[in-house]
Structure formats: structure tokens, C-alpha cells
């Protein structure tokens, strides 16, 4: 895990990040790790020790599903988001937006005047 963000901060949002990437296209573990790294501007490096348990948990919750492909000569497990996963993504995105807005409101008095919050 990259130290750019504290692990506590990332813990609650990893599901959202992974589901978000899988909503675009199906992929496999290593590729997902690299895509997350690129999408986050090299700020979030999900180590395999975190990534695979997370993927297996999401699969257990039927938010993603997997299939095996060995057309490349090596057995590879591909993941794709399910309808339930897309639904969860919508709910969590909404929740996340409200959370961010809430935090920004709370932190607003601490910001220097004239600072622009995104």
C-alpha cells in the first residue's frame, strides 16, 4: 500500500475503487493493480496481500464474478462486475459524495479564507 494516504483512510474506500475500475471493463488481478495505480496518479498501490483477499470477498458477496481463461497458455482468472456490484457502486458513490461534502463542511473553518475546495 502506498504511504501517500494513510491505510485507515483507504480502508473504507477500496471496495469503491475496485468496483469502479471493474465497472469499466473486466480484468485480472495484476492488471487491476496496475490500473488502480495509474488511475490514482501512482498514489494508490494495492499490494497483492490486500488485493486478492478483497477480490475474493467481493466475489463472495456476489458483487463481482470470475471466469478462467487459459488462451494465453497460462491460467488466468478474470473478474467482472455483477449487476449487484453496479448497484452497490451507485449506492457507495452516493454515500461517498455525501461523506466528502460532510467532511468539507466540517473542515471549512480550518481552511484559509479564499481557499477553494473541490
Amino acid at each position: 500500500m502506498s504511504q501517500r494516504f494513510g491505510p485507515d483512510l483507504l480502508r473504507g474506500s477500496l471496495d469503491l475503487m475496485v468496483l469502479s475500475l471493474l465497472a469499466n471493463e473486466s480484468t485480472y488481478g495484476y492488471d487491476l493493480q496496475q490500473k488502480l495505480l495509474a488511475a490514482s496518479g501512482q498514489l494508490v498501490q494495492l499490494q497483492p496481500g490486500t488485493l486478492y483477499p478483497l477480490l475474493h470477498r467481493l466475489e463472495g458477496e456476489r458483487l463481482i464474478r470470475s471466469r478462467w481463461d487459459d488462451s494465453t497458455g497460462r491460467k488466468r482468472k478474470w473478474y467482472e462486475i455483477t449487476s449487484a456490484g453496479r448497484q452497490r457502486l451507485v449506492v457507495q458513490t452516493d454515500e461517498w459524495d455525501r461523506y466528502v461534502a460532510c467532511i468539507q463542511t466540517i473542515l471549512a473553518p480550518l481552511r484559509p479564507q479564499g481557499a477553494i475546495s473541490t
Binding site: 486478492y52 470477498r57 456476489r62 491460467k75 482468472k77 448497484q87 449506492v91
Partner: protein, 372 residues
């Protein structure tokens, strides 16, 4: 064959996984693919092979911890399966026990009292104490009713299978919802029927959301969420029929039976006004099967209508009000199919769906409030 270091690592990890051989093999294949990919990437960056292998393995962290973390979701899945199985078995046992109790001769004499107790009818002191099980069911029913009335979380189903939709709503609302698969199958509806529905947060209640989902699945108005055995069961309306007895003696007590004003229309609630029910006097003789209200006639004519299940004019009028006020039925006496409604000694006995019983309860409350 991958690198010996990788194979040794995978063997050590798999040895720590408390999973089936097939599951361990699948996890090893997946991790092997990751390690090979990582090795190839590091090689393209010019990292020496031995160093690259060490880096790739180090990224997995502590082997024991990793094994523990990757086992957890699978173990949880097994627990869920076990719980589902246990829940299904318990439900089957409880249902069998309830059915056996219901048909057990010694208990049959209590049936009427049970129905009355559920309907909240004042009972004679000798039968007023209700069985504890009934109290528990009532509490459970109230809780489930309250949950059905709560506003939903945002819904955005995009061709989601019906069973997944139900699973989602079960989880989001923390309420047990069970699909009557046989009833669905009888109507040619599969549990993987894709549902597409978008509803913003709080716009509809859980009950309405379930009704919308069932309609989208092709169930029309034939299916409804029904509370049964501590569950919300998605079943056909006719399967959800149950008997309730409504004590309406207070409503019928002050009813004025009077002749309607001439040309006062066909509505038994119309007429000369003033009373709750302004009903024409009995013209037909008992047992003659006279029907009412007489459509198009100058007078409304009522009698003892076995077909309408009322023993008094006022009783019949109340049945008419209930049927009109909760339309559309269906009712056997007006539609040829559906529920039944009868009156005896001020008690209205209705066999219909829970949705209809809710409508009737609401209507009776309004009638009582209007007469306060």
C-alpha cells in the same frame, strides 16, 4: 512451470489455507499468474531476475497473514451457506409443527379464538388469554410492517436478476425477504429475470419497491409482498389470503335505516342524509334472494342476502361500503373470483390478501374517525 521460488511460496501458502483442494488449487493458479506477470514487468524494467523474484514475493507480505486473509471470505461464504441451510431447515420444522398443531384435534376448537385474537376483537374472559406464540408473531408482524413502510435506499438496477434484486433489498433493509419460487415458476417467471429500475432514495417505500420489482418481473398485480412466519414472502396474492374478523358493532349500532329520498340515486350512502347509512327498508322477504342495490330503480332494496353474506341491512350496507372503498377487489360476490366477505352479528369476516386487509383496516379507521 513457473519459478521454483514461486512454487515453493505457493505450496507454503496453500498448506495454510483451510479450504478444499479445488479452492487451494484455484488460488495457487491465480497467484502464480500474478507472480509471473510481476516478474515479467520487473524484467522489462531491468531488474535482475533474482532480485525481481524476491520483490514479487515480498509484495505478498507475511505468508501466514496472507493465508489467513484470503481464507476469511471463503470461510464466511461457507458459514452463510450453512446458515441458509439451517434457516431453511428451521423454517420447514416450524411450518410442519404449526401445520400439525393446526390440524391436531385438541387444538381445533381454539381456531376461532385465534382468528379473533389476531383481529383484536374483544373476547370473553375465558378465552382472552392468548397463546404466547401469537404475541410473538404479532410483534414480528408489526416490525415487518414498519420495515415495509420505510423509504428505500436508492435503487439503480440495470438488468439485475430478480433474485439478486431481492438479495440486495434484503441486505439494504435488513429484512428477510423470501421469493416463493414455485409460485413464480407457475407463472413462468424465472428468478433470474432481469430487472431494470431506477428510483432515487426515499421516493417510494420498500413495499412499493417490491411491488414495482414484481411487476417488472412479469407478475403484474398477481404478486405481492406478504408477511408470513416472520418473513416477507413474495408470493401470489391468492396464496397470501388469510381470514380476519373485524368487530364493527360500534359502526352498525347507530345506523339509521330509512327510506331514501326519491330520486336519491343508487348509492346506499346517499339518500336523505344525516345518518351514516341511509338505507331503504327491506322490501324483499327473507330468503327471496332479493338483490340490492337496485340499479336504476327509485328505491334501494335490500333483504337477507345470502349471496352477499350479510344478516342485516346495515351489515350489507357496510359490506358494500367496504367493497367500494377498497376497490378493486376482487371479490367472489361481485367479480366471481377473489376474496369473501360476510357479516354476522356485527362481525365482518373477510378472507382476502394482506393488502386488502390493510385497506379495510384503514377504511374502518376513517369511518370511525368520521363518526367521532
Amino acid at each position: 512451470m513457473s519459478e521454483p521460488e514461486f512454487e515453493a511460496f505457493l505450496e507454503r501458502v496453500c498448506r495454510r489455507l483451510r479450504l478444499s483442494r479445488v479452492q487451494r488449487g484455484a488460488i495457487a493458479d491465480e497467484l502464480r499468474d500474478h507472480l509471473e506477470e510481476r516478474l515479467a514487468t520487473l524484467a522489462t524494467r531491468g531488474v535482475p531476475p533474482e532480485k525481481a523474484k524476491q520483490l514479487a514475493l515480498a509484495e505478498f507480505g507475511d505468508e501466514s497473514l496472507f493465508a489467513l486473509h484470503i481464507t476469511a471470505p471463503h470461510a464466511q461464504q461457507q458459514r452463510r451457506r450453512l446458515m441458509r441451510y439451517s434457516f431453511g431447515s428451521t423454517l420447514a420444522i416450524v411450518t410442519t409443527f404449526v401445520m400439525a398443531s393446526f390440524y391436531w384435534p385438541a387444538h381445533r376448537q381454539d381456531d376461532a379464538h385465534t382468528v379473533q385474537a389476531q383481529a383484536g376483537i374483544g373476547l370473553a374472559p375465558a378465552v382472552e388469554s392468548k397463546p404466547e406464540a401469537i404475541d410473538e408473531e404479532l410483534v414480528s408482524r408489526e416490525e415487518l410492517t414498519a420495515k415495509l413502510k420505510r423509504r428505500t435506499v436508492p435503487l439503480a438496477f440495470d438488468a439485475m436478476p430478480l433474485s439478486d434484486v431481492v438479495d440486495f433489498l434484503t441486505e439494504a433493509h435488513d429484512v428477510p425477504i423470501l421469493i416463493d419460487r414455485q409460485a413464480l415458476a407457475d407463472m413462468g417467471i424465472e428468478t433470474d429475470t432481469p430487472i431494470t429500475l431506477k428510483v432515487a432514495e426515499g421516493v417510494v417505500s420498500l413495499k412499493t419497491a417490491l411491488q414495482l420489482v414484481l411487476r417488472l418481473a412479469g407478475g403484474g398485480n398477481e404478486f405481492a409482498p406478504t408477511i408470513r412466519d416472520g418473513l416477507i414472502m413474495l408470493t401470489t396474492v391468492s396464496d397470501s389470503y388469510e381470514v380476519q374478523v373485524y368487530n364493527c358493532r360500534d359502526l352498525l349500532k347507530g345506523v339509521q335505516i330509512s327510506a331514501p329520498s326519491r330520486g336519491g340515486g343508487q348509492n346506499p350512502m346517499g339518500g336523505s342524509g344525516g345518518g351514516m347509512f341511509q338505507i331503504a327498508p327491506v322490501v324483499g322477504q327473507e330468503g327471496e334472494g332479493a338483490v340490492g342495490p337496485a340499479v336504476g330503480g327509485e328505491e334501494l332494496t335490500f333483504g337477507l342476502f345470502s349471496g352477499y353474506g350479510a344478516t342485516t341491512n346495515a351489515g350489507y350496507a357496510l359490506i358494500h361500503v367496504i367493497q367500494e372503498g377498497t376497490a378493486p377487489g376482487p371479490w367472489v360476490n361481485t367479480d366471481g373470483d377473489g376474496g369473501t366477505i360476510t357479516e354476522f352479528n356485527g362481525l365482518i369476516t373477510v378472507r382476502h390478501s394482506q393488502q386488502m386487509h390493510e385497506k379495510i383496516s384503514d377504511l374502518l379507521k376513517k369511518l370511525r374517525k368520521a363518526t367521532e
